[in-house]
Amino acid sequence: MPPKPVTLSGVHFMNGDEAVAEGAIAAGCTFFAAYPITPQSEIAERMARRLPQIGGMFIQMEDELAAMAAVVGAAWGGVKAMTATSGPGFSLMMENLGLAIMTETPCVLANVQRGAPSTGLPTLVGQGDMMQARWGSHGHYEIIALAPASPQEAFDLTVKAFALSERFRVPVLVMTDEVVGHMYERVEIPEEVPIAPRRKPQVPPEEFLPYKPDEDLVPPMACAGEGYRIHVTGLTHDERGYPAMDAEAHDRLVRRLVEKILRYREEYTFWEEVGLEDAEVAIVSYGISARVAHGAMELARKKGLKVGLLRLITCWPFPDEIVRKVAEKVAGLVVVEINLGQIAREVERVACGRAPVVGVYHAGGRIHTPEEVLSGIEEVLKDAG
């Protein structure tokens, strides 16, 4: 068999999990640590094959706690690092996700969502981790979460996730799901993918303050062995990186960690609008559910109903402005998701009574049918009078 090329380009037929792996490799990821879990295994398996080919490092850790910890450690070793998991493993990763947030460690975590709580439906789809993605770790923080709706987007958003994680020094979540993960489609890989640089110190070690942010609130990062000899701690810390055990230091730090993300929403807020120009009803959805919603929209249009679709690509921080603008001009909103109403809470919060919100929910195990979504559309039209 001829050797596989080191980096892929051109058109490929692959599933969403494989596309996440290839996206990571294209983005310059050279370290992947994970623990096997359905329906993520294809990501780990692809990385186990591919990383040794390109001089990278794959390690299967003893659990997801360790996988996430190893990713944070590897990022401090100077590389682009990633892990991938599904619901139960995602819960175990929350501890060290918090460490990554607090220590401002760039890294990427993909969650191929399945039916939950607990072991739930390991082989079947779910979108029930959306709130865990937002609030799953301890404390108050902001994190970026992107939701792909196709293998192509799984590739593209994984590339984006690496760039954003370096830009903001924050873990970025790729919130995919079992159907996108296992769905085979055409994936076009560009000849060249720009590698996002890591922001390095501009001063000599003796002048360097590891947690003194630049003007945009993000500090440059000195990695291990680069001569800066810095201290990094999950404790609340000052600009020197030293523990600072008081309320003022804590408030200052946590506010900066939040503000460095929120101030730059336009850099990472991605969405897609279809047929919203004349819409009386807007469907708000994301990931695989948005594809079903698209079909439902077409069904509704055939019936003469003016329905549009707002597909959220960035789910966290929640795109308040985008949703608000849509809520202002429609008579009703329909939220479609494979849980019993998580993102819908955000839509209701932002719509704030401007338009009624009807949720079309399913707890997991399958995707919606367009007909179910259509009945939600008819319901909201009735509500709206």
Binding site: P3, T30, F31, A33, P52, Q53, G55, M57, I59, M61, E62, D63, L65, A66, A67, A69, A70, V71, V72, G73, A74, A75, W76, G77, G78, V79, A81, E95, N96, G98, L99, C223, A224, G225, E226, G227, Y228, R229, I230, H231, V232, T233, G234, L235, Y242, P243
Partner: protein, 288 residues
């Protein structure tokens, strides 16, 4: 004695400079450790060991978990990482694999490394990740007020074992040896020079090397078990620690009131994780 104690003027206290000050973040001193605690001694031995090795300090990284021993990372003037409870080893694994030229040292306590982090310990040892683990074993959770830990001896009292511990403890020497550590030694904080020497050996060997440091915790474990001051615990070590190099790790149990073994138990060579990974990659390239 009856009567009022004689008033004495407090002598002016001028702290001596630490001989290994160049390795310390002196601006962070005084440290948080209690009087009589063994952590200062363990840290000093480590710094003397580093000095003896003469390594480029930019090539050394210290990773700690959480707890009293976990604070070591905050005091060394090196690239140092104070991570999450129990996760120092997987963090260090990622760090080492991402930057193989780094000398990675994990400095943490018995609770961090063997209770919450126990699973990570056996797997890091099994994989033979090239790093040195220094475990300061004080038989309880000192920082949180003296709770029961995985090395607390039977019948010892802790805040969460108020009637005496009835859980059998780990023998860390045996555990490390069984899990695959290539170097295993145990010393007490009384045996400072020997401890330093063991650290030099552990640091200079390749593979997963382990040094257990038996340490007093007079504020919590010592007080609750009527062991006296730190100095009294030193006397206890002098009377009960028996040096026996090459002893069977199985026999290294620690039972209060009985002699216990210290020394070097394991010292061998085997391929590290990275060596095996590189061999596999070379094999892969050869096939092409």
């Amino acid at each position: 004695m009856p009567g009022k104690p004689k008033e004495k003027a407090a002598p002016e206290f001028v702290p001596a400079r630490h001989p290994m000050e160049k390795y310390l973040r002196t601006e962070r001193l005084p440290h948080i450790w209690c009087a009589g605690c063994g952590l200062g001694t363990a840290l000093s031995c480590f710094l003397f060991a580093l000095d003896e090795l003469g390594w480029d300090l930019d090539s050394v990284a210290v990773v700690s978990g959480i707890g009293c021993a976990g604070r070591v990372a905050g005091y060394v003037r090196l690239d140092s990482y104070h991570t999450t409870h129990g996760r120092a080893l997987p963090f260090a694994t990622g760090l080492k694999l991402a930057k193989p030229d780094l000398h990675v040292v994990v400095f943490s306590g018995d609770g961090d490394l063997f209770a919450i982090g126990g699973n990570h310990f056996i797997h890091a040892a099994r994989r033979n990740i090239d790093m040195t683990v220094i475990c300061v074993n004080n038989f309880n959770y000192g920082m949180t007020g003296g709770q029961l830990g995985p090395t607390t001896p039977l019948e010892a009292r802790c805040t969460t074992a108020p009637y005496g511990n009835f859980e059998p403890p780990f023998n860390l020497v045996y555990l490390a040896a069984s899990a695959g550590a290539t170097y295993v030694a145990r010393w007490t904080t009384l045996h400072a020079r020997r401890l330093q020497h063991a650290m030099v050996e552990a640091l200079s060997r390749k593979g997963f090397t382990f040094v257990e440091v038996i340490s007093p915790c007079p504020t919590n474990y010592g007080r609750r078990n009527r062991l006296g001051e730190g100095l009294d615990e030193m006397r206890y070590y002098a009377e009960h620690a028996v040096i026996r190099h090459g002893a069977d790790p199985k026999e290294a149990d620690i039972v209060p009131g009985k002699d216990f073994l210290i020394g070097k138990f394991v010292d061998m060579e085997k391929l590290t994780y990275l060596e095996m990974y590189r061999a596999k990659v070379a094999q892969l390239k050869g096939k092409r």
